[in-house]
Symmetry: C2
Subunit: 176 residues, 2 copies
């Protein structure tokens, strides 16, 4: 699977159950949300802007998309809501690797560029280094309508794991 | 990583946080447990017995081990407690693949033989087919003291996912 196929398979509306394990406290957090993933045009202004931020040629963009989420955690009463633009930039010399630009990260709400690769068994792996943390994410499809996602937030040194979270995502509106 | 290294890295006592997503109901179950993984001798009677059950030459066994667990779920008030013997039988022609015999499965409490492989990024993948269900498990190390495990229970046809669960496992007694 290449990044184009991976993004194409991800487009749609998903119902997500997410469990966050706060490892130091042994605490479980449960989050229920809806996630919308929509394709963007290569020349969408948000895509062009993000390329400028990272000084990357917009011609190298492949399958940009927008992800929006809206949900509820059992830990924090505030509604969880957000949206970000994601722009894959494949490595021209390694077709299964590349950079993923985001206009907003998970661990910190600033723009972030992560390094991705796709494994031989079609798992998308993303590693993002922030100032004070590092995030490692694995996403794979169990079938076309079920996606799993494991996210680890580590200390910036990369050794300690602070939180480990797991999402199971079920495609909605399958028969529309 | 081969199966011998994978088992060697797994030996020890682990504190496990496990979240089970019951997908049809959107229900979250939280399980906290302690897991002990101990190495067995190749000629342990439990290992020999299991080989006999599956009509497999005990000479082909590699790194057999016993896994015991004891924990508590927030859904079911009964204590969760159990133990099983696991016996890897590598495929002589594909060193990263093989069979894993168990004297007791997860999805059904009968003996089970699953097919495993190790991916190039050191994830252990196990697929087990039962009479009325199929289980797919991925286990990988984030660092020597943190292990992640994702288990999916599917309908026997293999298409529907019934439960998706995630365990984060932290090694205990690191400095003993």
């Amino acid at each position: 699977m290449n990044i184009t196929e991976f993004v194409a398979n991800s487009i749609g509306r998903w119902r997500s159950q997410r469990s966050v394990h706060h490892l130091a406290f042994g605490h479980f957090e449960a989050v229920q949300s809806e996630i919308d993933i929509i394709a963007l045009l290569d020349d969408d202004p948000a895509v062009i802007d993000l390329c400028k931020t990272y000084n990357i040629d917009p011609q190298t963009v492949v399958s940009p998309f927008r992800m929006s989420w809206e949900g509820q955690s059992d830990w924090d009463e505030n509604e969880i809501k957000g949206s970000c633009v994601l722009v894959p930039i494949p490595d021209p010399t390694h077709p299964h690797r590349g950079k993923l630009l985001r206009d907003q990260g998970y661990a910190e709400t600033i723009a972030a560029a992560g390094d991705y690769y796709l494994t031989e068994d079609s798992t998308f792996v993303l590693v993002t280094t922030y100032d004070r943390a590092a995030a490692e994410e694995k996403i794979w499809f169990v079938n076309p309508n079920v996606r799993c996602r494991v996210s680890l937030i580590k200390t910036s040194a990369g050794t300690g794991v602070v939180t480990a979270s797991f999402s199971s995502e079920i495609r909605q509106n399958i028969h529309k």
